[in-house]
């Protein structure tokens, strides 16, 4: 086997890159863009992402080539010694005031008479909310192993989306999809960090393997992974609202800017998710939304946890809290006043067929978190001591959010999932799916469901990769998006087998797949309406925060969550998954932001996210988890609701509104000194 190390660009932006490599020791060789053209290998993904950059360098650290050889340590040293020349250009780091050439994707929608409603409004509020870049902190750095066997390419890679990996590789290497076998390897919690980037690493390994004629392994170091792979996107959300004397929203004018760095093939999905979430759960007669995915010369940025929804929920919830302040009302009062109600709709989408379970969740949440008493006392402290000079600085806030588990960009196959199950003569159930099964607990849950339906022993349920991968397409396995759909499909196939079981002879097979939606013609219909919200999982979250008087660091003291998500298949597994996600969501609120400068990069590596030592109290309750009906996804709920609640608690504690996340101790101290 050959090991490969990546030669990276030291420039943020440039043209006509040339890699100069001195004589390599015996057994070592280089793979450069010229070698690809010499072997007639196309070098681009369909979105124009190069396997190795040559004509255009788009970010510092972009892969320009590989050094391959039998010793990984020597490969690293040789790759670091490679010199790069190019016609350097001024990098485009600015993205909040962008040029038209930087727009990757744009979506705009308008409903109602915005000008008339703003004219009728007694109060107008205009604010910008910013989100920083955040690493996924997944369990192992990115890597891939490629091996050619005559015409067949085998790829071992930890990816959330094997189907997409095969599709991309087939396009990029101009070979048939049937000649590519993807072996998804162990992944741990990926948090959307492994949606498309593994395809790029796999393509680099595949090209090197094809040219060298040997299996090639690329495995990034953690530092390489931190600095050069995809992260959660940066965003700036501009909200202008108009409301009447009571605080009822009349008009919302929203501009969403999402910085997706150098490349992101999932730009439409991220934009759609943000647009879908930005109106939150509030009713407004006139809305205009303009959303842009912007390209800049920084590392590729993209999804995390809830794709684009975290940013949007944080912005709208913070805005509603500020609106409450403006009216000197309690945030819950303003939120309840503007909450969507049965029969109402936004964007002309289908009417909401039932009420949002706000009251029930809110009541339960208030009870377990002691919210009213704490909120009132922290408000009192803030009024007595506005500059927080006396030391104890605390805040508490609650927020309501939802997870739909729905992807909107149908074209990329994000909503296509399928499962094939066969009950053989030995009463073994073989479940075939291409979906990457990230955790043993998920497998255990599915195994239990299948065994219960078919009345067989759990040890008799086995998961396999399908031999003919074409027949069973699969969307990505994100936090709970894919897993809840796969669970439903496993249930469906097992019930079908059970129906036939005593009428037909074994083995019996059944296949189930999700149906593509009819959303293409009217995307607004999916954004908010009965179809979306009626099938959503709901979550109320309260977060209590204290500011460390010495360092200014925000310390989360407690998180309470009340979840209404229909039937919970396994409460213990659900609790474990939610608590782990809650810790990651809290880490996002306080972590370092990625700064492309040299010192910023060092700071970024030094930050390792939330530690168990800083673990706050986490209390989670489910509403009627034993009820009948479909199981819904819940894994994204902490990412949707916790940042919004954390931020609102922080603003209460500080008496200031920094309008950005994450927030570090130093920044908070500066804000307090300036106050």
């Amino acid at each position: 086997m050959q090991f490969a190390s990546t030669i990276r660009s030291p420039y943020h932006r440039g043209r006509n890159a040339k890699v100069i490599i001195d004589t390599l020791p015996n057994g070592f060789s280089s793979i450069l863009p010229d070698d690809l053209s010499a072997h007639n290998i196309p070098s681009l993904f369909s979105e124009g992402i190069p396997i190795f950059a040559s004509q255009q360098i788009s970010y510092r650290g972009e892969a320009l080539g590989l050094i391959i050889g039998p010793d990984p340590g020597i490969c690293d040293e040789l790759a670091a010694l490679a010199r790069v020349e190019c016609d350097e250009e001024e990098p485009e780091h600015e993205w909040e005031s962008f040029s038209s050439s930087q727009i990757v994707f744009h979506y705009g929608a308008e409903h109602g008479d915005l000008d008339a409603m703003f004219a009728a409004a007694s109060t107008q509020l205009k604010e910008v909310y910013r989100n920083g870049i955040f690493d996924h902190h997944y369990s192992e750095p990115m890597g891939a192993l490629a091996r050619w066997d005559k015409t067949t390419l085998s790829i071992h890679c930890a990816t959330q989306w094997p189907d997409d990996l095969r599709r991309r590789l087939a396009g990029a290497l101009a070979i048939s999809e049937s000649n590519i076998v993807v072996h998804p390897t162990e992944m741990g919690r990926a948090l959307d960090g492994r949606l498309w980037f593994p395809s790029l690493v796999a393509a680099q390994a595949a090209v090197a393997s094809r040219i060298s004629g040997k299996p090639v392994r690329i495995l990034y170091t953690r530092e390489e992974d931190f600095l050069h792979t995809t992260k959660q996107a940066r965003s700036a959300i501009n909200i202008r609202s108009g409301s009447d004397e009571q605080g009822r929203l009349l008009a919302l004018d929203i501009v969403i800017l999402i910085n997706l760095g150098a490349y992101n093939p999932l730009a439409p999905e991220i934009v759609y998710q943000a647009v879908s979430a930005i109106t939150g759960i509030y009713s407004c007669p006139a809305i205009r939304i303009e959303a842009y995915a912007i390209r800049s010369n920084t590392i590729p940025l993209g999804a995390m946890g809830s794709v684009g929804a975290t940013h949007a929920f944080f912005a709208i919830e913070a805005h509603m809290n500020n609106l409450a302040q403006r009216y000197s009302k309690h945030p819950a009062e303003i939120k309840a006043l503007n909450m969507l109600k049965k029969g109402q709709s936004i964007f002309g989408a289908p009417d909401l067929s039932g009420d949002i379970p706000f009251n029930r969740i809110h009541k339960e949440l208030e009870q377990i978190s002691d919210y009213p008493r704490k909120y009132a006392s922290y408000e009192l402290v803030k009024k007595r001591d506005p500059g927080c000079r006396e030391g104890i600085v605390r805040g508490i806030a609650l927020t309501l959010g939802y997870q739909t588990g729905r992807s909107f960009s149908e074209c990329s196959g994000m909503n296509l999932y399928s499962v094939e199950a066969t009950l053989d003569r030995e009463l073994r159930l073989l479940i075939k799916t291409q979906a990457t099964i990230g955790s043993e607990s998920l497998k255990a849950m599915w195994r239990k469901t299948a065994a219960e339906i078919l009345s067989i022993h759990e040890d008799h349920v086995h998961f396999l990769l399908p031999e003919n991968t074409h027949s069973l397409p699969s969307g990505p396995m994100t936090l709970s998006r894919g897993s809840s759909l796969i669970h439903a499909l496993i249930e469906k196939t097992c019930r079908n087998i059970q129906k036939k079981r005593f009428r037909e002879s074994l083995p019996i097979s059944a296949t189930a797949r999700t149906r593509p939606s009819k959303a293409k013609t009217n995307p607004e219909a999916l954004f908010l309406g009965a179809q979306l919200l009626d099938s959503a999982s709901w979550c109320g979250t309260a977060v209590e925060v204290e500011i460390d008087a010495l360092t200014g660091k925000p310390i989360p003291l407690a998180v309470w969550m009340v979840i209404d998500a229909g039937r919970i298949v396994n409460v213990q597994i659900a609790l474990a998954s939610l608590r782990a996600s809650a810790l990651s969501a809290l880490a996002f609120c306080t972590a370092n932001d990625f700064d492309p400068s040299e010192s910023g990069r060092k700071d970024y590596i030094a930050d390792a996210g939330m530690r168990i030592r800083q673990l706050p109290k986490i209390e989670i309750e489910f509403i009627e988890p034993d009820r009948n009906g479909a199981a819904k996804g819940i894994g994204e709920l902490p990412f949707i609701t916790i940042p919004a609640a954390f931020y609102s608690a922080l603003t209460q504690a500080l008496g200031l509104d920094p309008r950005q996340l994450p927030l570090k101790g130093g920044e908070i101290l500066r804000l307090l000194e300036g106050a």
Partner: protein, 161 residues
């Protein structure tokens, strides 16, 4: 250079270059798959080993420093009944660490329980903080360690914790 060292009770002569980290030498020369050279900063804990009885990050130790020492890796303790107790506790509490940090978490829990047979929550958090992989539920992990201590004490002393 050649480094003479005892690894999991067997005397070894390991080849090393100047500046090599102990974790890299152990992996390269002995193919110890339980070790991962991940963060290389002593943060992730995936390279934990026992060196002369103390638990240390092998990514922070230059290989030459290990000369004459006694090293025990996960492979050296894997079959011990104490490790079976920990595995059983993971299973019973449905807390399954990912395959990247599984061995490291067992090493740190093994170390804790051999020092403190009845650890309190602070002891447990202190130990688990050595392996901050975000894969598993932190509260579940704390419960698993408590249960592992119970199982260990029950097996060793035939009594409840």
């Amino acid at each position: 250079m050649i480094i003479d060292v005892s690894v999991n009770g067997i005397q070894r002569h390991l080849k090393s270059r100047n500046g090599d980290r102990l974790v890299d030498v152990l992996k390269k020369e002995l193919g110890l798959s339980s070790l991962t050279a991940d963060c290389l900063q002593g943060r992730c804990g995936k390279c934990l080993i026992f060196m002369d009885g103390r638990i240390v990050h092998s990514c922070l130790i230059p290989a030459f420093k290990a000369r004459g020492s006694s090293i025990v890796t996960f492979e050296g303790i894997a079959k011990k009944p104490e490790v079976m107790d920990i595995e059983k506790a993971f299973q019973l509490t449905q807390t399954q660490p990912c395959s990247f940090c599984h061995t490291a978490k067992i090493m740190t829990i093994f170390d804790l329980l051999s020092r403190v047979p009845l650890p309190n929550e602070d002891d447990i958090v202190e130990a688990l903080d050595m392996v901050p992989c975000p894969c598993s539920d932190p509260i579940g992990l704390i419960q698993a360690v408590k249960l592992a201590a119970e199982l260990r004490n029950k097996r060793k002393f035939n009594r409840e914790a």
